[in-house]
C-alpha cells in the first residue's frame, strides 16, 4: 500500500487536486488508512496509467472516464477470454484440438464445415 502523499511525490507529473478529482469520480479507489488514504499496487499502476493518458496524451478530464470505461471493458473481456481458454485447456486433448481447429482461420465460417 502507498499513501496518498507518497504517491503524489513518486509521480512527478501528478497534481494532487487531479488525483482527488479522480477519487471523487471513482476513476481510482483508495482505502482509508490512519486518517489518510492508501493505494494498492494495482491502484498505483492505474494512477500512472491515468497520468499518461491525461498529462502525456492530453486526454481531457471529460474524456478520461470514457477512455477508462473502454479500457476496463477491454480488460474485463480479456479476463473472460482467459477463463474460457483455461476451460478449453482443461479438456481432453481431442476436444482441445477440435476447438482449436474450429477457431483456426478458414474454419470459422459455416460454409467450410
Amino acid at each position: 500500500m502507498t499513501g496518498i502523499d507518497a504517491l503524489v511525490a513518486a509521480i512527478s507529473a501528478l497534481q494532487r487536486n487531479d488525483l482527488e478529482a479522480w477519487l471523487r469520480d471513482e476513476l481510482v479507489s483508495a482505502e482509508p488508512d490512519a486518517g489518510t488514504l492508501a493505494f494498492s499496487d494495482m491502484e498505483c499502476a492505474r494512477v500512472r496509467f491515468i497520468c499518461t493518458l491525461h498529462y502525456d496524451l492530453e486526454i481531457d478530464a471529460e474524456t478520461l472516464p470514457v477512455v477508462l470505461t473502454l479500457a476496463d471493458q477491454l480488460y474485463e473481456t480479456r479476463q473472460r477470454l482467459f477463463s474460457l481458454t483455461a476451460a478449453v485447456a482443461a479438456q481432453d486433448e481431442p476436444i482441445q484440438k477440435a476447438i482449436i481447429a474450429a477457431l483456426s482461420p478458414g474454419n470459422r465460417s459455416p460454409e467450410t464445415e
Binding site: 494495482m42 499502476a45 480488460y75 482467459f82 485447456a89 484440438k97
Partner: protein, 305 residues
Amino acid sequence: MKDPYETLGVDRSATSKEIKAAFKKLARKHHPDLHPGDKEAESRFKDLSAANDLLKDPEKRRRFDAGEIDASGAERPHERFYRDFADGPAYASHAAQDGFSSNEDLEEFLSRAFSGGGRRAQGTFRARGQDVSYALPVAFLDAANGATRTITLPEGKTLQVKIPEGAADRQMLRLKGQGMPGFGGGAPGDAYVELHVQPHSFFRSKDGNIHVEVPVTLTEAALGARIEVPTITGPVKVTVPRWSNTGTILRLRERGIRNHKTGQRGHQLITLKIVIPAAEEPELVAFLETWEPKTRLEPRKEMLT
C-alpha cells in the same frame, strides 16, 4: 540504448513542442496499458519514455547534445503497468489451477488458436522472464576510474557488474538477460543496476571536473613550493606559485573524469587553504608583533560597507 531522436523520429533541431507531439503520437500507439495483448509494447514504450525523459528536459537535452551524458543515463526500469495487474493471474485465479503459470501463457495459447497454430502439436508456452532491479553502492574512486564489482543476489546467484569509467550517481546500467529466467524457453528478463556513488572524503566531482581543497603551510604559500597532491589516479607534483593565498585555484589539466563520449578528461581544480602551525611559534609571534606591512591590510572592508 538507441539515439533518442531516432527513437522519437524527430530531427536533432526539433522544438520541444515537436518532441512532445512525437511522443504523444507514439505513446498512443505503444502504451502497454492500451495494448494489453502486445508483449513487445512494454519494451517499445520503455524506449520511448526514456527518450522523452531525456529530450523534454532542456538541461538534459543540452547535456546529451554536448556529449556530456549518453542516452543510457535515461534508462530506468519501468514501474509495473496497469495491465500487469488487470491482466494478471492474481486477479484470475483460474489461470494457475489449469496449469498455466500466467495469463501470458493463455495469451499464447489463444493467439496460436486464432492464428492457425493449433494444427501443430501442442508445444510449451513461452514467456519472457521478469526484469529485476538492484541498487549498488559504489566507492567514489571506483565510479571515477571504472571498476568491476560482483554482486550476490538474494537467491545466491552472482552478477558481474562493470562500472564504466566516469559513472554518474544514480546512473542505471542494464545487464541484458540477467533478470528472472524465461518460461518455457522464453528469453530471460534484464537486470537493472542503479549506481549509488558514495561521497569521497576530499574529492568532489562536478561537470567532469574534480574539486579538491589542499592545505598548504604559510611558508609554502608565501615562498612558493613544489608539493605533492592527490588526484583520482594517484599523487601528482604541482607547483604552488610564490605568494599564493587561501582560495587560490590551481588547475591540473586532464586530471578529472573522462567523458566516455569524447574521450576527453576534465580537469582537477585545487583550492589552496593556508594552515598556520598547530602550536604557537614564538619567533613568528615576535616578528608579527613588530611587523609593519607595506600595504594596508583591510580584508573585511567589502563586508562592512
